[in-house]
């Protein structure tokens, strides 16, 4: 499933509206401890987290995630969204807890 299709099916907010959303999502990783994410994430996954700061963007790019899904209403600042957009990293906001966000992905077959 592409990021675009995920947004259409969930109504989750796209915090980086200027970016292309045609990238494929292959699985997902949930976590907020960056070394665990760095050590266990896989390319093309969606990363579900409540961490919102510049280092999250660095980890996501190095790990080649397809997008970040910010869960639990963690505050996506304009600065964060702008930096992610500049680095071409798609950021979504699910507005749901981490578990509910992950469950939604499973229901949609990701």
């Amino acid at each position: 499933m592409t990021i675009k299709e995920l947004i259409e099916k969930t109504g989750w907010k796209l915090a980086t509206p200027t970016l292309d959303t045609s990238a494929e999502i292959v699985g997902a990783y949930c976590g907020d401890l960056l070394s665990w994410v760095m050590g266990n994430g896989e390319p093309q996954q969606a990363w579900i987290t409540v961490q919102v700061h510049a280092n999250v963007i660095a980890v996501a790019l190095l790990r080649e995630f397809s997008c970040i899904i910010v869960a639990d209403g963690a505050n996506v600042t304009e600065e964060f969204a702008a930096k992610a957009a500049a680095e071409e990293l798609v950021v979504l906001e699910s507005g749901l807890p981490v578990f509910e966000s992950a469950k939604k992905l499973v229901e949609l077959g990701i």
């Binding site: 401890l33 960056l34 280092n55 963007i57 660095a58 980890v59 190095l62």
Partner: protein
């Protein structure tokens, strides 16, 4: 084995804003010269963790990258201190001495050095109060 490409970087203590920039440059440099994506992914994990260590644990430091004529990539991370008092503990998964500030950002999981060790083909670390030198080698698949 001879170096065919050499790059050096400086990492500044507590510079969380630029954390990952060195690793990102290493990654794109290696991609440009055609190192395999699988090896680059391992290098990205190791370089990011090591770069973060220079920022949150050391007083900053230097990073040296060499691509060798056999396709292997050597990374050296050298800092001026304060040194790792107990290397064995530092290499134990889950052990961390990270500050509250660093933990608040999701660092300090105690997985940095174990992650680096796991993805490297050669791993060597020497530490004293005068500084720590971490030397890593990544071989390219034949």
């Amino acid at each position: 084995m001879e170096s065919i490409l050499h790059k050096e970087y400086t990492v500044v203590q507590d510079d969380y804003v630029n954390a990952g920039k060195v690793s990102s440059d290493i990654k794109s440099t290696l991609a440009e010269i055609g190192i395999s994506p699988k090896v680059i992914r391992k290098i990205a994990v190791a370089s990011y963790e090591s770069e973060i260590n220079l920022i949150i644990h050391a007083w900053g430091g230097k990073v040296f990258m060499d691509v060798n004529d056999d396709g292997s990539v050597a990374l050296v991370f050298k800092d001026p201190g304060p040194g790792i008092p107990d290397l064995e503990k530092a290499l134990t998964p889950g052990w961390s001495t990270a500050s509250e500030k660093a933990r608040g950002m999701g660092f300090g999981a105690g997985m940095g050095l174990p992650n680096i060790q796991r993805v490297s083909d050669e791993f060597n670390i020497e530490s004293s109060p005068a500084g720590t030198t971490l030397s890593l080698l990544f071989r390219s698949p034949v």
